[in-house]
Amino acid sequence: MTREKHITQLKNTSPAGAGRETHVPPLDDLLTKHSRPIKPGERRISTVARLLEDLVKVPLFRCQRCGECILSHTGFICSQRCPKRLRNGPCGGTGEDGTCEVYPERKCIWYRIHRRARRLKRLPLLNRIENIHNWELEHTSAWLNVFNKRIDPPTLFLKKSKKGNAQ
């Protein structure tokens, strides 16, 4: 069976397939789409690009350098600061007033993301199911990865389509 045919079949068998809520990407989107090995040349350029990116992202967003940036979906707060590095929302351990279960002296990062997203009117973006992280991209430059079409570009402005899909 070809992969495309298989993905169609997957979509059809999804229990939530028909008439499900909007904002959910098709199932095959969960995988890093352009998974191909990084050649040494690209890695070298990435190291330089990473230096520039760090100058911006580390002080501003406490970037954890995952290389697969979803800052624009998470209210411009880096979700990778979560001790479990969750990419799809909080675990069940958020305490009252939004404290982190692992480090009670901190706020749950997803609690903060939710509040910020609400304030910035970017809540629809939280409905996206985020990619399964491609660890090969760890500590590479997300900017270069966007340029090389390894990851999706950031969603800076919410477009209002008929379906209300904000992607």
């Binding site: 069976m1 992969r3 298989h6 079949q9 997957l10 068998t13 999804s14 229990p15 939530a16 499900r20 809520e21 959910v24 199932l27 969960l30 995988l31 001790p83 479990k84 590095r85 969750l86 990419r87 799809n88 929302g89 909080p90 675990c91 069940g92 351990g93 958020t94 305490g95 009252e96 007033d97 939004g98 404290t99 279960e101 692992v102 749950c108 997803w110 609690y111 939710h114 509040r115 609400r118 809540l123 939280l126 409905n127 199911i129 985020e130 399964i132 992280h133 660890w135």
Partner: protein, 300 residues
């Protein structure tokens, strides 16, 4: 007791009753067998916890095999804390081969709470992505895109916490799990009924209760101290102060604990959109038959 599988019962819209069994902290099959006696012919499925609170225990898959030998329908809990995507997929295939379809996909407690706090965690996938992975496997393809001939037959569960902040984010996350392919949801134990009802209302507003079977958690406690502990030490739990006061006043806290659990179950059963009860008798498995009888869960 009918021999319908959990999946068939979900599809038939039966009101479900599941419970929980914690494997021992040793290699004792006898300890597992002993506990199964409390659940037999009472529950539709029994969760086998996977290194709960990050304390090393007998493997959940192995305990599930023992439970099935004793005539129970096991629901294997599996966490992302201890496994990367290779191990998760391989364990799911293993369940398929064993003919144990029910799996509860969890993120997992952080190792900091357990008896090996110095361990390296994994968290390669999160629970939403794990559910998606399981859904993909049962449709016949690996995360890599490779396909297989003998697909594992899986009935995929997920967890939800109606009590942790913020409520809106909880519903969003539930929506993601449903979109990723979950068949049933089990919630954290309910003490705060008011908060549970507002969560359920939000779930109904999003139309999510029609897309999955929501089983609501209930945990009987033996004393007021246990309840206070739960309120202060267990993250993401809400216990109303009145309930603690009620337990403190009671002459026989154990009996009062059972009464509270039974009353909670009866109130939950009336809430629209609830498809079952998930009893979590932590270290008190022997109480399951009594609560099932008093709360009228057997006739369903």
């Amino acid at each position: 007791m009918s021999r319908m599988s959990l999946k068939q019962k979900i599809q038939n819209g039966k009101f479900l009753f599941t419970s929980e069994l914690g494997p021992p902290r040793s290699a004792s099959a006898a300890a597992v067998r002993k506990k199964t006696a409390y659940f037999k012919d009472i529950v539709d499925g029994v969760n086998i916890t996977d290194n709960q609170t990050a304390i090393v225990r007998l493997s959940s898959t192995a305990a599930a095999v023992i439970c099935r030998e004793e005539g129970l329908e096991p629901i294997v809990q599996m966490t992302c804390r201890d496994r990367n995507r290779l191990a998760l997929q391989s364990d799911l295939l293993g369940l398929g081969a064993l003919g144990i379809p029910n799996v509860l996909c969890l993120t997992g407690d952080h190792q900091r709470f357990g008896n090996h706090p110095e361990a390296k965690n994994v968290f390669d996938l999160d629970s939403v992505q794990f559910i998606y992975t399981a859904h993909r496997l049962r449709s016949g393809s690996f995360l890599s895109g490779d396909t297989m001939k003998n697909k594992p037959n899986l009935c995929i569960g997920g967890a939800a916490n109606p009590f942790a902040d913020s409520l809106e984010m909880r519903v969003i996350r539930l929506g993601k799990k449903i979109a990723a392919g979950v068949d049933f949801i089990q919630t954290q134990p309910v003490y705060d009924l008011a908060r549970f009802q507002s969560w359920m209302a939000a779930v109904r507003d999003a139309g999510l209760h029609t897309k999955t079977a929501i089983l609501v958690g209930v945990m009987p406690v033996k004393s007021a101290r246990a309840m206070t502990y739960m309120k202060s030490e267990v993250p993401g739990m809400r216990v109303p102060q009145e309930l603690i006061r009620r337990m403190k006043k009671a002459a026989d806290p154990k009996e009062e604990g059972i009464r509270v659990a039974v009353e909670t179950i009866q109130r939950i059963k009336e809430v629209e959109g609830v498809r079952g009860i998930h009893l979590m008798p932590l270290l008190w498995e022997s109480i399951t038959p009594r609560i099932a009888e008093e709360a009228d869960l057997l006739k369903y």
